[in-house]
Subunit: 321 residues, 2 copies
């Protein structure tokens, strides 16, 4: 079910250059150091979460995918949301690892689907390296491990909060989350009548749902009140959709070499995207509206504690890849 | 890790006929009515657990597999374990549904693997009906729904018990449970040096782990003490292994027509089985030992409350299919 309608009523034209200029004038926050520190924490926790288990082949496959690097945006969002309410890293780190496990699982099963339907996948993808059987099973094991990790490794937190966190992340995966987005995405390919509502449904489910779970779990585990949890939920849905709008824009505006992936692949795959439906300029305007809405939702929180989430929203809006 | 070594030191020969005769002398318990009542409760709860969600195609696929019928042994075990400690059906029914969802997910992904590796699967399997993409995603959605269902629908239970239950079922799925059994099973096909320990590892993980989670969750949700939980854990591992030993025996002793499946399929698939490793007679003796051990573990509980679990152990030992 869609509960947010984020499409903008556009009244002015803002170019990408204007947005970047505006960003330069923001108060300084050492975002890079923050990201490096949090990603390092997440990487260490993930490394130890997938150690010393058997049987070896699944273990190897899980480590291969989970520890392949990446910006760890989801874990960082989870930790930043917990810290917004004065929480410690230790409170939210199992949940932060769990969202990365789910994200990795979704990539593994996505690649598997591409592989089985003869779409060319990159050489180093898990299915190519380990085969289909291990790809299915390693994905299943990561999904289960995510829940085990939250339930067993979250220490010093009131159990009712852990139960709520489990409910949040579970819902973000299934037929009201990630899977819903994937199914509608798959069944929409090649359709000529995909509108903005339809596209928003796909992105809110396929991309935003897990970002929402990351942020909301961080808040819940620290004991944020229901109103604050709901404000952060809206914030996460804005940046989730923002992430995808910018991805769509980058897909058509960047060259393969710069992106390190095949630019224009969504165009090639005959997929609906924001630039295709409303054009590049209006896509940038929509991105700016989403970013502004997201940042506005953080008004009223301690500015120092909200700085990482604001910086993350800006990063998602202005990233180059 | 194997923590149980259940292989018997056989000192006498007991035929299947002797065992059935012994069963006839047991005090009466209306097992059939009990199973029908509990399975009906589970079916109703499962039906409402997969209603009214979107998108339609995944929903359809989940309902197709989950509501296809079956004996619902895992949910019944969960409810019976809860009732052993004086609990109500309502306490354990979300967990009971969750184990059936996980079981169904494992069947879907198993069939998918058989399908992708060109092993003939039955015509009505989900992969054949809905295709590979939906098979992967419906399995993922069922796995997530299992956790969501425990977390959101378990009412009137201390949250710390729910967290423990989540940890138990999650562990039963991953690299220390179901997935471990599946991986070792897959990688063992065709090997000539599969011994009893190896076979026991496969069955304890692929079959017993989920039965263990069913029973243990039922006990935990009702607040059983740690000692009782551990006794029930051993009971479940005995009946889990028993289930598989009897399955192996039935596979080679029954004709296709009676079983409604291809008898001797494990033999054909060049898989290790108990009859292949120790012969039919010793397989029956082992089955009897496991059944006796299981029943002995229930000594000391209220006999009326333990009757369903004892009857389930007998049913698993003496079933004809």
């Amino acid at each position: 079910m869609l509960t947010l309608h984020l499409l903008p009523s556009v009244t002015f034209v803002l170019t990408k250059e204007d947005i970047v200029k505006e960003e330069d004038q923001k108060p300084s926050f050492d975002f890079k150091s923050y990201m490096v520190q949090k990603a390092t924490t997440a990487n260490q926790a993930l490394e130890s979460a997938v150690s010393f288990r058997s049987p070896i082949k699944t273990q190897e496959a899980m480590r291969y995918s989970l520890l392949a690097g990446g910006k760890r945006i989801r874990p960082v969002l989870c930790l930043a949301a917990c810290e917004l309410f004065g929480g410690q890293e230790s409170t939210a780190i199992p949940a932060a690892c769990a969202v990365e496990m789910i994200h990795t699982m979704s990539l593994i099963h996505d690649d598997l689907l591409a592989w089985t339907t003869n779409i060319v996948v990159e050489e180093n993808q898990l299915t190519t390296v380990f085969g289909e059987e291990i790809a299915v099973l390693a994905g299943d094991a990561l999904l289960a491990l995510a829940f085990e990790h939250i339930a067993v490794s979250t220490l010093g937190v009131t159990p009712s909060r852990i139960v709520r966190a489990v409910g949040e992340i579970a819902k973000a995966i299934g037929t009201e989350g990630l899977v819903a987005g994937q199914v509608v995405d798959i069944t929409s390919e090649g359709l000529t009548d995909v509108g903005l509502d339809h596209l928003e449904f796909i992105h809110l489910h396929k991309t935003a749902a897990l970002l929402e779970a990351s942020v909301v779990m961080g808040a819940i585990l620290r004991g944020a009140c229901d109103d604050d949890v709901e404000r952060l939920r809206k914030f996460a849905r804005c940046i989730g959709l923002l992430f995808q709008v910018v991805d769509d824009i980058l897909d058509v505006t960047k060259y393969s070499k710069e992106l390190g992936k095949t630019a224009g692949k969504d165009l090639m795959a005959d997929k609906a995207t924001y630039p295709k439906l409303i054009g590049i300029e209006k896509s940038w305007e929509f991105a700016d509206k989403l970013k502004t809405d997201a940042v506005d939702l953080l008004q009223g929180f301690d500015p120092a504690k909200a700085a990482p989430l604001i910086a993350l929203a800006n990063y998602i809006a202005y990233r180059q890849n």
